[in-house]
Amino acid sequence: MKILVCMSVVPDTTTKINFTDNNTKLNTAGIQYIINPYDELSLTKALEITEKSGSTVTIVNVGLADADVVIRKALAIGANDAIRVNADPTDGQYVAEQIAEIAKAGAYDMILTGRESIDYNGGQVAGLLAQLLDIPSVNVCTKMDVIDGKAHFERDIDGGRETIITELPVIASAQKDLCEPRIPNMKGIMAARTKPLTVVEPKVIEGYSVYSQFESPVAKQAVQLFDSQNAAQLIEKLRETKVI
């Protein structure tokens, strides 16, 4: 079993998002970067699966050198090695095309992604990659396992859950509830220093989209408060404004 875990590096969840240069860029001043929370789940799950079968977990990231500290953290959690495609991605499609090259070269049995990156929230990479490689994919998984050469999943569907069995190779994306994310221990942190982190140059691709402008949500008007002794007024207001 060889598992490839796609990992994006994103602003910490407490980050206040604002934009600079006439709203054309994210203001990165003071931002702390973390492993995308969903990718922490898929990494942990990949380790659980490979620990049973004694095989390897490789991390892949498309990003610039400043991602390396976060990639080392993933190695400290337990991945065997990492590959970074040295590029500042323009969109999910760019990321997927780069990872497809890595995936083709590596003959992985399983490729895991997060349900989405919490920065650009595309939720695109799993599906794109699956189609570029023309293999099955299962999105928003709350359970994953490999038994007798087949992959077993539970996934969210609208209003419920479903269990699925697929052939390998397969791509799956992690949803919350998949597992408890592992945190690195001292031994892991020491080991991570010498684990291989290979940097490869991107392949040149024709663009798909251009992020031209950003906008912050319109600030809310001050809240209108109702008396706690007369909460019925709130319901009246909601009725008046046809909200209910």
């Binding site: 408060l225 706690s228 209910i244």
Partner: protein, 312 residues
């Protein structure tokens, strides 16, 4: 030519599909809907009402498999020379949109929240940073796949005549669905127009009766904050926020939730927000339209009485 994926939810085209139809119709006159498996009687008329001229039904596929669905969808899209495809960003839509974009060699945009601007190229507005921002993105390829966030696009009626045809599709899947469990009778959180949500302020799972009753009275879905699902007071599927589900209902009622930035990220695009919290300094009041400062255990019974007395 423009196409939509008409997701078939147990024979029915839900509102999100009609939103996709409205979006597609705003781009041009001829819109083809492709649906996989036969919809109920009369459902095609719903599409006609929102401007769809043609419905192609693909029969012979029994269960959802993204690879197989994308392939058969593409066969029709290619034949009909569809260049722009609109898909509702549901669980199914999210699995399909990227695959279809690869097959069509198209630019892909997901989480799109508004009609496009086509004065200079083709620019869509999408939600980013879990609702903490929006991005305007130019889709530069000739072909485009656009996945729209449910409850973002205004429905526009546009009555037309619709022609319906049925094609047999090849069922070629590498996945086997071995079990399905649906919470029957409950409104799925992602589709709900009203959401009643509660946090650690409710003290314990035994106190959720009032929350569920309020949801029932309002025809709402229930949601919760992350610690509440982490402590197993409520199922994980109810957890909303940056690391949970992102929702955009017409009304979000937050009870005993502080309003941490990660929570707000998943709910702040709701059209109207109500916060109920005993702490006047709770950050939720900065994100809310309406609020009540007070004890949820005193306020909830009043709300229930007021709602019930207003009915009939």
């Amino acid at each position: 030519m423009i196409g939509i994926y008409a997701e078939n939810s147990e024979g029915i085209f839900k509102k999100a599909v009609l939103e996709a139809a409205s979006y597609a119709k705003s781009l041009g006159d001829n819109v083809t809907a492709i649906c996989i498996s036969k919809p109920n009687e009369g459902e095609a008329d719903k599409l006609a009402k929102y401007g769809i001229n043609e419905l192609v039904i693909l029969e012979g596929i029994s269960s959802f498999d993204a690879q197989n669905y994308a392939k058969v969808f593409f066969t029709v899209a290619n034949q009909k020379r569809l260049q722009t495809i609109i898909i509702a960003n549901t669980y199914e839509g999210k699995s399909l949109a990227p695959r279809i974009s690869v097959l069509l060699n198209a630019s892909l945009a997901t989480n799109v929240v508004d009609f496009p601007n086509t004065t200079n190229g083709f620019t869509v507005k999408r939600a980013v940073f879990s609702g903490k921002g929006f991005a305007y993105v130019n889709l530069t390829r000739a072909n485009k796949v656009i996945a729209i966030t449910p409850n973002s696009i205004e429905l526009k009626e546009n009555n037309t005549a619709i022609s319906v045809s049925t094609i047999n599709a090849e069922n070629n899947t590498k996945t086997t669905i071995t079990g399905t469990s649906k919470t029957v009778g409950k409104i799925p959180l992602t589709e709900a127009e009203i959401v009643v949500s509660a946090g650690r302020g409710m003290k314990g799972p035994e106190n959720w009766g009032m929350i569920e009753e309020l949801a029932l009275e309002l025809g709402a879905a229930t949601a919760c904050s992350k610690p509440v699902s982490d402590m197993h007071w409520r199922p994980h599927s109810e957890h909303v926020g940056q690391t949970g589900i992102t929702i955009k209902p017409n009304l979000y009622i937050a009870i005993g939730i502080s309003g941490a930035i990660q929570h707000l990220a998943g709910v702040s695009s709701s059209k109207v927000i109500v916060a109920i919290n005993k702490d006047p300094e709770a950050p939720f009041f900065k994100a809310a339209d309406y609020g009540i400062v007070g004890d949820a255990f005193e306020i909830l019974p009043q709300l229930l009485t007021a709602i019930k007395s207003g009915k009939n």
